[in-house]
Symmetry: C2
Subunit: 222 residues, 2 copies
Amino acid sequence: MTPTARVSLNLTRHRGGLTEAERVRKLGQRGAVLWLTGLSGSGKSTVAYALERMLVGRGKHAAVLDGDNLRFGLNKDAALLKESSGYGEAAARRFGLGFSPEDRAENIRRIGEVANLLARNNVIAVTAFVSPYRTDRDAARSLASPGRFFEIFVAAPLEVCERRDPKGLYRKARDGKIKDFTGLSAPYERPLHPELTLHTERESPEESAQSVIAFLRAKGIV
Amino acid sequence: MTPTARVSLNLTRHRGGLTEAERVRKLGQRGAVLWLTGLSGSGKSTVAYALERMLVGRGKHAAVLDGDNLRFGLNKDAALLKESSGYGEAAARRFGLGFSPEDRAENIRRIGEVANLLARNNVIAVTAFVSPYRTDRDAARSLASPGRFFEIFVAAPLEVCERRDPKGLYRKARDGKIKDFTGLSAPYERPLHPELTLHTERESPEESAQSVIAFLRAKGIV
């Protein structure tokens, strides 16, 4: 028997003692995954934190997952795994995440799993990642319970995002210092059927967050 | 510049808009990591779910992370990554987790990161893993904010655990069908200074859970 086969055989699924309906009644909210997608500089993180502030202000548990923060934790790169987790060279190379297509897919997979875990535990998970590929976003959607995953397109046009350039990344990409930069030298696949679209080029982060909250109300999440 | 160096330079830490005190006031609870450790069959998962049931029953957000469940999600093995996540052979081998020391360390690291993320978002994360090595448990502790990580030793003696053998694993290990089985052919390093010890050989899961809740009250978590 291969080690892998043995793994699967030794595991049994464990069930908690509370039904979904009991959890919702006791906690006063459903869980959900709000998957914000859009170009760098479109305002994903800003809207996500405005939304978190509003939801928590109403006593609702919400949690932002964003690329910049997760890259220092769950999805560290090899250098950080060596430096702060004491990993050896081989383990750090194996598990550390960079920006290759394979690494990006694993980055998004781990985030999707964590967002789904939060949602299953009645937390509103707000993810803020470029997540340029439809196949990755669909994979994240497929993890969630039906009706609990909402793809939210943060739709500021490229010109607006590049003008803002809050982290100076567009400039670096134009100068050739970053390869494969989404929107310039790497594709961004627009959502085909997002549950909601936010026009952050003409509304404030608070206005965008308000429209997400109106949407969550309509869906019976809060 | 290496790709790894570029990663670190392109990232900036992102801050939410709410202080910890505001979150606690609005949500009515602090977050914490309750790290249950003990032999297979000691009752970790049973106590964890009893505790979750009690906490949620009081309107407190709690989430159980247990090995059997995470192994089907965030910490899937290579076979499951291929089967359910559409990974190719190389990516599945690289990111899939088995039971080698390196894989176990990464398993625990990811769990520690997720538990800490839950705790930072005011959820009481209850982890239920054998987690036999002190160094791995200390690594999980080091991720959490001071005073938010509680190591709880589920201390049923080996003879009791082997007699229970709820998954038939001790039998398989005695028959040589599982190598490196914690407590028999692989070490279990007892906690040196656990914040709490549960004697599940002589108290019911509900009694154990009650003593955890009394502990959380004393610490000001709930």
